[in-house]
Structures are given as structure tokens and as C-alpha cells.
Amino acid sequence: MTDRAPKLRIAGRDFSSRLIMGTGKFSSGAVMAAALEASGAELVTVALRRADLSGRQDRFANILEFVDPKKYVLLPNTSGARNAAEAVRLARLGREATGSAWLKLEIHPDPRYLLPDPIETLAAAEQLVKEGFTVLPYIHADPVLAKRLEDVGCATVMPLGSPIGSARGVETRASIAIIVEQTTVPVVVDAGLGAPSHAAEAMELGADAVLVNTAIAVARDPVRMAEAFRAAVVAGRTAFEVGLAVPRRQASATSPLTGFLDEAR
């Protein structure tokens, strides 16, 4: 067993589930709500740009109605922001509209691969932490950036496995291992997890949680895929806690060099 707490703890709050869900790309609000339920997730992220921030109960921007605040901790995200100033403004407006001070900080100026801007993210994180937000920043798997974000008071770091929606899995494996080793805040592997096995792999690496959206939202049966990810996250975490076998080159090696030490017996 490791010294990590059995439950996921972010900013002083405990979560039984280590699967965080996204809410984009679903074929309907009802399908999304059912998938959330099946996933067992307790923390759910919603793009503020899709929500009504005007306070007029806009039924054409009602994505939040499908995320029951009694069941889930709402994690609004700043997707769409291209720099720190935009992210900060969106976050403030989002907090007013949703009442949640939790924030998934996403700044991707490049709309093609949606890769996070490290410079703007650090600047925005520093500002938002000062303003009392619980900040969970989406970043490239950069161990130094992770430490810098931790230093300014972020509640987690969320390194990407591979680009958003790419389903390429944990391509940043080596860097994520370093981040897991070095950080003192929870590590959430976000983006690119296209199969339950990818999620399990991230958990086996020692990630504290994973965030999944596309793979579940666009699955033929999102509810069953949510169940599959839920099981994979539990499996990966359990394996990590138990400790994985170290891969060996040979099967059951004998001890040709140290066998003589047993001779006295």
C-alpha cells in the first residue's frame, strides 16, 4: 500500500470516485445525465461557454439543468478562453452564474489541437487562486509547470495524456510519472483517454484521478461505456495501491551468482 489516502481528496473535499466526467459532445442532455449516473462520478465539468451566464434562465443554453447540484460537485471550465484575461473574466462570470468556485482552468489558443498555453495558464491560475477559486488547471504533461502551479496554490494539476478528443491514450507516460512523483497535489490525467484501458493505465501510473469525456459521450452506448470506465478506474487504482509486478526479461530467474550464500543451510 502507498501512503496516499484511500479517497481522492481535492481542496479538502473527499470523493469516492476517481473518475471525473465531462459533459460535451453528448447526443442529448438526457443521455448525458444517464452516463453521469452510470459513471459514478462526483465531480463534473461543464463548459461555461455553453451555459447561460446572463441570468435569464435561457432554455436554449440549459446544459446545467442536466447536472444535478445535489449529486455532483460542479466544475465549470473556461474552454474557449485564449488567454489569461479571458479565462479570468469567464471564471468570474461563471462563479456568479453557477455559484461554484471550483474551476477547471483551460486556456487553449489553438482551436485545432486545443493544446494548453502554459504561460497564460500560470498567470491566470495565480490570479484566480488569489480571488478564492479552487483551481484545477489543464496543462501539458510538464513537470516543472506542474510544480509552478502547485506553488501558486492550485488544487490539482491536470496533465494531458494526449490531445483532447484524440483517443490516443497516455502518450505522455514518462512525464506523467515524474509529475506523480514530484507533486503534492492530486494529479488528474485529463484528455486523450479513448479506452478504459487508457484510464486504467493512468491510474496504475499513480494518477489520483482521470477526466473522461469524448470516449464516453460518442460511444455507441454512453451509459455502458461510462460503466466500463468506472470499472477501469477502480481496477487501475487498486492495482496501483497493491503494487504492480515489475516486468522481467526472464521467467523465474534462479540465482546463479548468489546461490553460494545458501550453502551453509
Partner: protein, 391 residues
């Protein structure tokens, strides 16, 4: 951008002759080159078994990158005054049509109607006319709509970067400008009067818009003027160029096919529905992350059919005449001749082109829901339009 016409010609030639093996190779790749794109446009790729394979691959990529959603927008025509002569366009200055330019209040009235229908993304469209459709007028329209509209785009005559900057500052975030045709000879033949004759000035419009701070750029060729594979290759080249240079902009490509309009222009080439589908698939396979736009120029059947292949943005219930939604500006209808207005009467201003899908927005949304797609009306927020960094 300097259009490399030799390269376009070479790729278009390749597109005409590509073999089944070329199509296989293009399909198998994860990231495709312009040569792969050309192969996907080939007659070989339109054979039934190949077109289905293209469609399957394009559908899978679309779902992966955009999800099971369709974004909606509505065009709002501000004015049908125009100083250009474009042979295919109803607004062409030599057409004796009923014209009007809505006042800012009338624009707000039309917009209120669209808002009530659910739209949160609006595209302001106008003919090119420095007097009636001045930059100040456009700026006032944008500023008037901004408090209610999360996303405002423009499709108007090309302007200078400095002029665009004022409009971006007023709150617009998207700029749409079609090259119409990327074939210079055809372009010259189609545009015989007005500033639009300048092919290269138009070609650089998207970059000027980006420099001024627009966040979404829309391009496209008007299908029906020049050889479609030439247009497709040129559009792809233009898109590649913009993706590299205007890297922070969300790029969309529209696929407007020529429709009947005043002036009785007959399309110079006819693009079949099958070729439209092939074009959509090829664009999606070439540019997995680029938005593809389909308007009400197409029939319900074709729109429903093309949606899963790669379309990510749709208009619905559109009117292509100023005042078309609520009858604004009726009292001011006139004919413009030699720059002078001649009062005239009629029921409404004339349209730019005839639409083919008259379904109400909620009917289109319901049909998409049946097909497993959610209509997304709001996918942006005005707070993201407050930053006007120059590039």
C-alpha cells in the same frame, strides 16, 4: 496569400486521374496531404464502395472531434444594396430589385425574432456598399446586438484591417468571406463591376480580419462557377495556409452551391448531390478539426444526409432578404439605379438567393435529435469577446 495556381492545376489533374490505390492510400493515412485530399476528390473515390468508405471515415472523425452535436446559427440580412456586379447574385447592382437597408432599430427587431427562436449565434449579412453599409453602420449594428448575442459574425464586403478593428471592438468575433471562385479567369468574367473585381484583395480578407482580432474565420467557394475539384483543392490550400498563419482562429469552410436568384443566372457547372457528399467527406478527412457549414440553400433531404458526414454548423429557417423575418423596412423599399433611389412598392425586399430548406429551426433540431444529434444554440459567450488583442 499568393495562390499557387501551378500547384492547384497539378493537384486538380491528379484528382482527375487518381487510381483506386491512391484512394486506398489516402484513406489509410492518419494525417493527409493535399495529394491525398485530391485523391479523395477523384472519380475513383466516388465509386459506390469508396464513397461509402469515405463517408464512414468522415462520420467517425466528425463524431470524434465534434461529438454528437450540431451548432446552429442564423443569418440576418441588413441590406441588399450593392455596388458590385456579380452575375450570379440577386443583389448585383444591375438587377432592378427592391432594395432596403434596415435601420439599427429594425435590425434589433429582426434579431429579437431570431433570439426568440433559440438562436444565439448570428451572422450579419449585407451587400457591399460604402454609403448604405458603412463601417459605422456595421459597428452600430454590432454594438446594438452585443448585449443579447453571445456570438456575432459578419459577412459583408471586404474591408481594411483598421476598419475591421472597429467592428471587432464593437463586439463581433466571426468574419465570413467567400472567394466565390478561386479560378481567376472565371472570377474576372463573373465580377465585371465594382471593387470586388480585385481577386487578390478579396483573397487576403481573412488574414486582414485575423490581424484585426476576429476569432472565427469562414471561407469557401461558391459551387457552380468553376470546375469543382479546382475549387476544392484551392479551398484546401487556402485553409492550410490560414491554419498555419492565423493559428488562433477557429476556421470554418462553407459549401454554398449556387441557387436561383434575380438575374436568372444559370450555373456554369452543375455539382451533383453525390459530388457534394464527396466534397464534404474529403474536407472532413483532410481537416478533422475544421468546422463545415451548410446553409438552407440545400434541400431537407440533402441536409439531413450530409449532416452526419461532416457538417458541424447549420442555419435554419433562414431568410435572405433584409426584413425577411419580421417585415422590417417595408415602407422604405426602392429600386437603386445609377446610385439613385427610385421609390417603389412591394411586399418585401428581394432575396439574395432562393432557399431550399424552409423548415422551421425547431423542426430541423427535432429531426437532428431523431438522428442522434443535439442542437447546440449557444457555444460561445460574449465575455470571450472583450479582449481585442492585435495580432
Amino acid at each position: 496569400m499568393k495562390l499557387d495556381e501551378f500547384a492547384i492545376a497539378e493537384l486538380t489533374g491528379f484528382a482527375a486521374q487518381a487510381t483506386a490505390a491512391d484512394v486506398d492510400r489516402a484513406l489509410a493515412r492518419e494525417r493527409r496531404s493535399l495529394a491525398d485530399f485530391a485523391a479523395l476528390l477523384s472519380p475513383a473515390a466516388s465509386a459506390p464502395e469508396y464513397l461509402e468508405a469515405l463517408a464512414q471515415a468522415a462520420h467517425a472523425l466528425t463524431v470524434k472531434h465534434f461529438g454528437r452535436v450540431m451548432r446552429f446559427f442564423a443569418p440576418l440580412y441588413l441590406s441588399n444594396e450593392c455596388i458590385n456586379i456579380c452575375k450570379y447574385c440577386g443583389f448585383s447592382r444591375d438587377n432592378p430589385i427592391l432594395r432596403v437597408t434596415l435601420t439599427v432599430e429594425q435590425v434589433a427587431e429582426e434579431a429579437r425574432y431570431l433570439w426568440a427562436q433559440g438562436f444565439r449565434h448570428i451572422l450579419l449579412v449585407a451587400g457591399e456598399h460604402p454609403h448604405f453599409v458603412s463601417r459605422n453602420y456595421l459597428r452600430e449594428c454590432v454594438a446594438r446586438l452585443r448585449p443579447d448575442w453571445p456570438s456575432i459574425s459578419l459577412e459583408v464586403g471586404p474591408m481594411e484591417t483598421e476598419e475591421y478593428r472597429l467592428i471587432v471592438e464593437a463586439g463581433a468575433e466571426g468574419l465570413v468571406v467567400y472567394q466565390e471562385t478561386y479560378d481567376r479567369a472565371v472570377y474576372a468574367a463573373m465580377h465585371t463591376g465594382g471593387p470586388k473585381r480585385d481577386f487578390d484583395w478579396r483573397l487576403d480578407t481573412a488574414e486582414r480580419g485575423y490581424a484585426a482580432g476576429f476569432k472565427r474565420l469562414g471561407i469557401g467557394a461558391l459551387l457552380g462557377l468553376a470546375e469543382w475539384r479546382w475549387e476544392a483543392v484551392a479551398v484546401a490550400m487556402h485553409a492550410e495556409y490560414l491554419l498555419k498563419r492565423c493559428w488562433q482562429a477557429q476556421l470554418t469552410i462553407s459549401l454554398p452551391r449556387l441557387r436561383p436568384a434575380a438575374g436568372e443566372f444559370e450555373p456554369l457547372i452543375h455539382l451533383t448531390d453525390r459530388e457534394m457528399a464527396q466534397y464534404v467527406c474529403a474536407l472532413r478527412l483532410m481537416f478533422p478539426e475544421v468546422g463545415l457549414v451548410l446553409s438552407t440553400r440545400e434541400s431537407p433531404k440533402l441536409r439531413d444526409g450530409l449532416a452526419p458526414l461532416g457538417i458541424t454548423l447549420m442555419s435554419a429557417g433562414s431568410h435572405t432578404e433584409p426584413g425577411g423575418y419580421t417585415g422590417q423596412g417595408k415602407e422604405d423599399l426602392h429600386i437603386t439605379r445609377g446610385g439613385r433611389r427610385i421609390d417603389s412598392e412591394g411586399e418585401h425586399a428581394d432575396v439574395q438567393f432562393a432557399i431550399a430548406d424552409g423548415r422551421a429551426p425547431e423542426v430541423v433540431a427535432a429531426r437532428l435529435a431523431e438522428m442522434g444529434y443535439e442542437a447546440v444554440w449557444k457555444d460561445w459567450d460574449g465575455v470571450l469577446n472583450e479582449d481585442h488583442r492585435e495580432r
